[in-house]
C-alpha cells in the first residue's frame, strides 16, 4: 500500500472530512488520520446550524458560499444527516433590536441572501411558544439544520469511495512533508493539511487559536414546540465579545422533535465539565424567550471546544513557516456551516487555482511570525 500521498489530512471532523472529499474528488491521492471516531470532537459537540452570519464581510462571504453548497448537496445527503431547511429567525426583543433587523436585512439583501422581516404579531403566529409581545424578527429561510457527526461520516464515506485512505491513529508530528503516527508509521506527503480544530496547536505551537468552551442542552421529543432555529439578535454581541463569559438565546428544533438549547462562550475554561452556573444562565435566558421551555425535560447536557482565532475568521491555506503545511482550522462556532466552503478554498489553494470567493481574509499568513513585522 502506498504511503506516499499528495495530501495527508490530520483530523476527520467535518472540516477534515469535507477537505478529504474535495481533494479526492479532484484526483489527489488523499489520506486522513484520525485518532478518535469521525466527527467525534467539536463536530459532535456543536448544534449543526447552517447559518449565514454577517459579523464581517469575509464571514458573510464564506458562510453564504458554504450555505449555498449545503443547499446544493442537501438532496444527496442520507436521512441520518437530518438536514432540514427550517430557516433562522433572528429575534428582536425591543425596538432597538428591530433597527438591527432592518440593518441586517440590508446587508443580507446586498449579498443576495433572501430575508423577510416579521413584525411582532406575525412572529407570534410563526412561533406561538415565543414570549409575546416581542418586537419582531428577521427570517432567513435558506438557513438549515443538520446532525453534524453523520454529516462528517457521509463526507468521509464519499472521500473513501473515491480512494481516500483513513488511518485510525494519533499523529505525533506533522512537518516537512512527513506525518509520524503513534504506531511508528511514517506517511510522506507533498502537502499536509492540519484540520484538527483547537488541537492543531499541539502540532503547530504558536498557532493563534484558543479553545472557546460551549455548553448545550438537549430535551426529550416535543415535535412542533418551535419551528425555526431561534437566535436572539443579542447573539452577535455574545459571539463577538472576546473576553467575558457570555450566554445567548439559541434554540434549535431537531428533526426528531428534540430541542437543542444553547449557547455559551467561555475563554480560559479548558475543563470539559459542565458548569451549573453557565447552564442556569443559559436556560434562564431560553426561558425568558420561551416561557414554557422550563416544563420540558432535558435529557442530556454536554460541552465542547470551539477553535477561536483573534479576528473570528478561520485559517484556510498555506502556513508560511513550512512549505508542506496547510491549515483548515479556527472556525470557532461556524465549522459545520463553513466546512464545505473551506474545503473548496483549500483544494483551490492546493491546485493553485482561483477561488470562488476572495481567499485572502482567511490566509493563515496574516498571523505568521514573519508577517508581524510587515
Amino acid at each position: 500500500m502506498s504511503e506516499n500521498w499528495d495530501v495527508v489530512i490530520v483530523g476527520a471532523g467535518i472540516v477534515g472530512a469535507a477537505c478529504a472529499w474535495q481533494c479526492a474528488l479532484r484526483g489527489m491521492r488523499t489520506a486522513v488520520v484520525e485518532a478518535n471516531f469521525i466527527g467525534g470532537g467539536a463536530t459532535a459537540a456543536g448544534m449543526g446550524h447552517i447559518v449565514v452570519m454577517d459579523d464581517s464581510p469575509a464571514q458573510l462571504a464564506l458562510t453564504h458560499y458554504s450555505q449555498t453548497l449545503w443547499q446544493g448537496l442537501s438532496k444527496s445527503l442520507p436521512n441520518d444527516v437530518e438536514y432540514e431547511a427550517c430557516g433562522t429567525l433572528w429575534v428582536a426583543a425591543d425596538e432597538e433590536e428591530m433597527q438591527e433587523v432592518h440593518r441586517k436585512r440590508e446587508v443580507y439583501t446586498s449579498a443576495g441572501v433572501a430575508t423577510e422581516v416579521l413584525a411582532g404579531p406575525t412572529l407570534a403566529d410563526a412561533e406561538p411558544q415565543l414570549r409575546n409581545p416581542l418586537a419582531g424578527a428577521l427570517l432567513v429561510p435558506s438557513d438549515a439544520v443538520l446532525y453534524p457527526p453523520c454529516a462528517a461520516a457521509y463526507l468521509m464515506s464519499q472521500a473513501r469511495r473515491l480512494g481516500a485512505q483513513l488511518y485510525r491513529r494519533k499523529v505525533l508530528s506533522a512537518r516537512a512533508g512527513k506525518v509520524r503516527l503513534d504506531d511508528g508509521t511514517q506517511l510522506t506527503a507533498t502537502r499536509i493539511l492540519i484540520a484538527s480544530g483547537a488541537d492543531a496547536c499541539e502540532l503547530i505551537p504558536g498557532l493563534p487559536i484558543k479553545k472557546r468552551k460551549g455548553h448545550l442542552v438537549i430535551t426529550d421529543r416535543y415535535p412542533g414546540f418551535v419551528r425555526h432555529q431561534l437566535v436572539e439578535l443579542g447573539y452577535l454581541k455574545s459571539a463577538h465579545s472576546s473576553t467575558a463569559d457570555s450566554v445567548a438565546f439559541n434554540v434549535q428544533p431537531r428533526k426528531t422533535g428534540q430541542l437543542l438549547i444553547g449557547s455559551s462562550r467561555q475563554f480560559g475554561a479548558e475543563d470539559s465539565v459542565a458548569d451549573p452556573q453557565i447552564l442556569a444562565a443559559m436556560t434562564e435566558r431560553a426561558a425568558w424567550y420561551l416561557p414554557k421551555i422550563g416544563k420540558l425535560s432535558a435529557i442530556r447536557v454536554w460541552t465542547g471546544f470551539r477553535a477561536a482565532t483573534p479576528d473570528k475568521l478561520p485559517l484556510i491555506g498555506p502556513w508560511p513557516e513550512d512549505d508542506s503545511l496547510f491549515l483548515a482550522t479556527g472556525h470557532e462556532g461556524l465549522g459545520i456551516t463553513t466546512s464545505l466552503g473551506t474545503a473548496r478554498i483549500l483544494a483551490d489553494h492546493l491546485e493553485g487555482v482561483t477561488t470562488a470567493i476572495p481567499a485572502a481574509p482567511y490566509l493563515p499568513a496574516r498571523f505568521a511570525r514573519s508577517a508581524v513585522h510587515v
Partner: protein, 82 residues
Amino acid sequence: MSKPARIRLLVNGVPITVAPGTTVACAILIAGIPARRSVTGEPRGPLCGMGICFECRATIDDAPHQRTCQLLCAEGMEVGTS
C-alpha cells in the same frame, strides 16, 4: 369494614378503575396497551419500574414524557399513550 375507595381515570379516553396507590404504569398495563412506541415503532412498557429506563413514558394531563412508573393514579387523570 368499608369498601376501599376506587380511583377512576381515563387511558386514551377509556375509563379505568384502580385501587388507591396504583401507579399509572400499572393502569396502562390494565388497559392492555403499550405505554409508548419507540422511534422505529416498537411497543414499549415499564422495564425497570423504578424511574431509570424511561421506557414507560406517556402523556399525563397534557404533559408529555412522564415516567408513569413514578406516578400514582389520581381521580380524573387523563393518560395518553402513543
